[in-house]
Symmetry: C2
Subunit: 350 residues, 2 copies
């Protein structure tokens, strides 16, 4: 070959590898390692209109510290050969117990000034799942979801029935006042006031949801354990000022939460109704299983295309059966992080 031809071919080869790389790249991409040695865990703390001027450096650090703590709690279980489902529960409990996130303590208020929480968990090995919706007295809804999966014939239970079940199972029950936080209460008043003074924009439910104004704050976790099993979990207080015992996507298997050892584990965050309509989590899995997409391609297709097509907001964290993690979102930010096999923590907001 002539030098010119060699140069041209080299350029083409370089371009090809670069495009293949960028197609499958996320900032969370991990090296493939032998399965028994490989494990991984990722979390989110909600996606939304998170901008620098709304969070002081101190607040940002608070979020990062709490996410790091959550990651380490899950890591401790995976590192010692524990199950992904237990790691998911452990990580989410840390975030539920923190007032920083819209789940457990720190949940948003409904129109009526109540906290109504939803959670789900799914085991990718057995396809067993458990979920609770609209619970008001269970300290850790994610643990109730796990009990539903393990100890009942049902997948989804709700309201007072779910609370009774949690009590029978010996889970911690708290007074509804436990979930009160000053900041969330102020947020409700603000949103309710703006709904009143802006009644022309009010929808017929009487419930203004300021899609662009707030981040949603749902928490979630996905994990791959050393046995090669995937799990996913999501927990949330839902949408501020919600009415009519609304249930979001988080407790709905296939919408906000899904896990399948064949493909991936998924936890979503954002405007729940949009995730329900596109059955987001299952669609990511199906794009991998039926269309042969990589985890990054499948998650991007759902968040950047399908969600955006219906003008939906949010993001997702997904881990595949090889431990590759991707975390796309179409909002300005998403609280998110992952921990690698050696315990190195990475957390991001914007």
């Amino acid at each position: 070959m002539k030098p010119g031809t060699i140069f041209l071919v080299s350029i083409l080869i370089l371009l090809y590898f670069n495009s293949a790389r960028s197609q499958d790249t996320s900032d969370m991409k991990r090296k493939l390692e032998p399965l028994r040695n490989n494990f991984a865990l990722a979390i989110h703390g909600g996606a939304g209109n998170i901008i620098h001027r709304n969070l002081t450096p101190e607040q940002q650090q608070q979020y990062k510290d709490k996410m790091s703590e959550a990651l380490r709690a899950g890591y401790a279980i995976l590192d010692t050969g524990g199950k992904s489902i237990d790691a998911v529960e452990a990580s989410i409990r840390i975030m539920e117990d923190s007032p920083l996130f819209n789940a457990g303590k720190g949940s948003v208020f409904t129109y009526e000034g109540k906290n109504e929480m939803d959670a789900a968990i799914m085991d990718g090995k057995t396809l067993k799942a458990g979920a609770v919706a609209g619970v008001r007295t269970i300290k850790n809804p994610i643990s109730a979801a796990k009990k539903v999966m393990q100890k009942s014939k049902f997948v989804l239970i709700s309201g007072k029935g779910a609370e009774q079940f949690a009590k029978e199972q010996g889970l911690e029950i708290v007074d509804t006042s436990y979930f009160f936080t000053e900041e969330r209460w102020k947020q409700l008043i603000q949103v309710r006031d703006s709904a009143k003074t802006d009644s022309l924009k009010n929808d017929s439910t009487g419930s203004i949801i300021n899609k662009r104004e707030d981040h949603y704050g749902t928490v979630g976790c996905v994990a791959l354990d050393r046995h090669g099993n995937l799990a996913a979990g999501t927990s949330t207080g839902g949408i501020v000022n919600k009415k009519y015992n609304r249930i979001g996507d988080s407790p709905l298997i296939g919408a906000g939460t899904y896990a399948n050892n064949k493909t991936c584990a998924v936890s979503c965050t954002g405007h729940g109704e949009d995730f329900i309509r596109i059955v987001a989590a299952k669609t990511i899995s199906d794009l991998m299983e039926y269309k042969g997409m990589s985890v990054s391609q499948a998650a991007a297709e759902v968040i950047k295309n399908k969600l955006s097509e219906i003008k939906g907001d949010g993001g997702t964290i997904v881990i595949d059966k090889n431990g590759i993690i991707t975390m796309p979102f179409n909002t300005t930010g998403m609280f998110r992080g992952y921990i690698d096999r050696k315990g190195k923590v990475t957390v991001k907001i914007f």
Copy 2:
């Protein structure tokens, strides 16, 4: 060619066409017609262990008459150019109002002796959806689901909140005693008694679900209208003797109910938890969209393979964008029927 060769070739051609036909055949297969002229509607009234000796000829006729009435109600709307979503609602209301089916009047009782109903509806054109769960006073839950879709920002609302919404929307509210039927009450007593006398088999929820003993009786409808739009709806009283405000697959978009103009409209019936775990309805749609399966292949794959793999029971009715209908089930029977463009009704049980 020699006569022998011609004979052999003819046989091969015949075999080929027969195999192609059987692969894509259901007793519901319809001719393809120009879209504007084509419309179709199918219903189910539940799948389960329905056997001849449990239904007298008179009872079978009652079911067939009521299903025919439901089919004609939807047909009347489609025939005059109405919307599939309205046809779905109309057909389901007929079955909700009949004590024969486990939806609306005739719903099964919970462990506590209550009726808690779920319903969902979805518009395949817009991917908008609405659903209610655990409602006790709304005469026609399917109409409440439609109002949620049309008049609220939410997809799924539940319990007392959903009842309040229905009331505000002017839907008919009834006393809980309206839903009482002698037959369903006896069924509850029987199931509760067998749970008590058979406590060794009792699961930890204290709720025996006699998977093999009863048909589930959920009702559903799928339709294609003259505008080329698909819709699906499902309504149910859930599972007899259920506890903890259990929510089944019917009101969950992607599990028991789904519609998308790109692919198909789906309504499922059976043991709800299994349909949730495999996200049945969305999987049928995804097998068509991403794997290029026909509607019959996709529905069969989910019911005969995926559902059976997790030892699930039930069936589904699916209509594709061309009006082709398929109705697979893995139980001994499924109340089902369809009406063709000329108004000819076909109803079946076994």
